[in-house]
Amino acid sequence: MNEWLLDPLRHTFMQHAFLAIVLVGVICGVTGTFVTLRGLAFMGDALAHAIFPGIVIAYLLGGNFLIGALIAAIVVSLGIGLISQSSRLSGDTAIGVLFAGGFALGIALISAQRTYVKDLTSFLLGSILGVTRGDLYLSAAVGALVLGTLAYFRRELTIIAFDRTFAQSLGLNLWAFDLLFLVLLSLAIVVSLQTVGNILVLAMLVTPAATARLLTDRLRVMVALSALIGAGSGVIGLYLSYHLGIASGASVVLVATALFLLVFLLAPQSGLITVAVARRLHFPHPERDAFPEPEAESAEADRTGTLGHQPSPATRRQ
């Protein structure tokens, strides 16, 4: 077992890969929490594809790919906003149009290059084994910027995700914060491209956050769990990739998906199997399955945690 764990770490490229996947897991896990809460999964997928031409153009011009990606992301975000202003088209239609168009532009540009197949493959699937020390520093810096900004504006972003009208009544500029979030999301995606690739980055944004949401009702806990699950899936996935000889990006995403399914079936409060089992073990009891009556004493509820964590009378008696 020790050998199984230690063997990959002997190689520098694997050390880099592990650090990279942990960074991506944490950055995408935290950003992805807001993506899932806002219902922006499709938007995330669209951004991942639409920033492709930005990266290709930056590469062709010899510029910085981060800047290229960011410009493309902002152009696409504004375009989606503009098209969805038209009352005949919904937001996801606008996303669909620009997402495919942007991706096609990227492919057209890159197909003129001699290294077409190799470049495209590494963009689509990532090349985690090629992560250099410099890549790691860049990822860490961009990650710190993204996480720092999310932390700084956490209240604005939370209130906007919860209730846009109320957020507006507090004087928050919804348009500016939406754009800010899309920029942060684009940065998170760009940082992840090398590690998991364009096609699978969505899984890193959505799956750990979704798993975390099944496990908790508290936003702060959800953010932490999502980061932990993202990084954990990354590490486990890399080990499996190394030992089983399967593609690293796919391996990481499959681990994250397996964790999600496990939690979906077995989560203590909401899992399909656990809830079914709990129903068989207990008769419904008003104190466990419903709210305290308005007349009931309230001191206990004030002290205890979130919904469902109060000990049921059945467990108290045991």
């Binding site: 700084y152 209240r155 209730d163 009208t165 507090l170 004087g171 009702d217 936003l219 509820a301």
Partner: protein
């Protein structure tokens, strides 16, 4: 002397005024030429059919929608952006109920930007939020996830948040829609205590009887202002027909009770 008068919340002094207010959405006109004024210490209900512009009027007053013509002023100062003195309570449908926040978290949103953003909420904030929940009888639900509450309970939580915002004018979009009778009674008594504290309350509603029972003045709105005044003056058959059209069911007992013509 003048400054003293201006600072005291006196019943009967106009503080919130809309002058020839019009709102358009593109080509469509949602609100036309509405001039009303509200005094401190009064409760005003806003009646009208669906699409009459009730929400639009509230949002325009709150500074959430730009006026295409006319102005809104609070104590003589124009409102073009949201103002902390004007508390807006949205319809419950604008909220994502599956959101992972507790009842206490929702109430604390009222204080989200009062102090340094880097610090977490302190005991003082939490105590104030719990006190506000206490006022609406929801303190014991503080740790629950917001979506697990009933409609009436959710409305109470929003009122607690509005109380914590501590404004001068409260604008509520359909606070009585889809809530149980105890909550309706609680909302009415809350309006009373706010009114006694010199606040102005304006709420949109579909419930004519509720409007007559719990407001000092009533606005009848159907894109244009139909009538504005005390219930007995406003709730006439002619006004209601002008507001709701031919199919309006006139609540006769209500008209009798308020002394309107039958």
């Amino acid at each position: 002397m003048v400054a003293e008068l201006a600072e005291r919340p006196e019943r009967g002094r106009s503080r919130l005024v809309t002058a020839n207010l019009s709102v358009h959405f593109g080509e469509r006109s949602a609100l036309e030429d509405v001039s009303v004024s509200f005094v401190s210490g009064e409760t005003v209900s806003l009646l009208g059919p669906n699409g009459a512009g009730k929400s639009t009027l509230l949002k325009a007053i709150a500074g959430l929608l730009p006026a295409s013509h006319g102005t809104v002023t609070l104590d003589g100062v124009p409102i073009r952006r949201p103002n902390p003195a004007v508390v807006y309570v949205p319809q419950r449908s604008s909220v994502d109920w599956s959101f992972p926040v507790s009842v206490l978290d929702v109430v604390l949103m009222a204080r989200a930007f009062r102090r340094s953003r880097l610090l977490p909420f302190g005991d003082a904030d939490r105590d104030a939020a719990l006190a506000a929940l206490d006022q609406v009888g929801m303190r014991r639900f503080a740790p629950y996830q917001i979506g697990a509450l009933s409609g009436g309970q959710q409305q109470r939580v929003f009122l607690a948040r509005a109380l914590l915002q501590d404004g001068e004018v409260y604008l509520l979009d359909e606070p009585f829609t889809g809530v149980d009778v105890p909550t309706q009674e609680l909302v009415v008594s809350l309006f009373d205590s706010l009114r006694r504290a010199g606040k102005t309350i304006v709420f949109a509603t579909h419930d004519l009887a509720q409007a007559v029972k719990s407001s000092d003045r009533i606005i009848l709105l159907n894109r244009r202002l139909i009538a504005f005044g005390p219930p007995r003056e406003v709730m006439t058959a002619a006004h209601l027909r002008a507001t709701y059209g031919g199919q309006a069911v006139l609540p006769f007992d209500l008209l009798e009770r308020t002394g309107g013509p039958s």
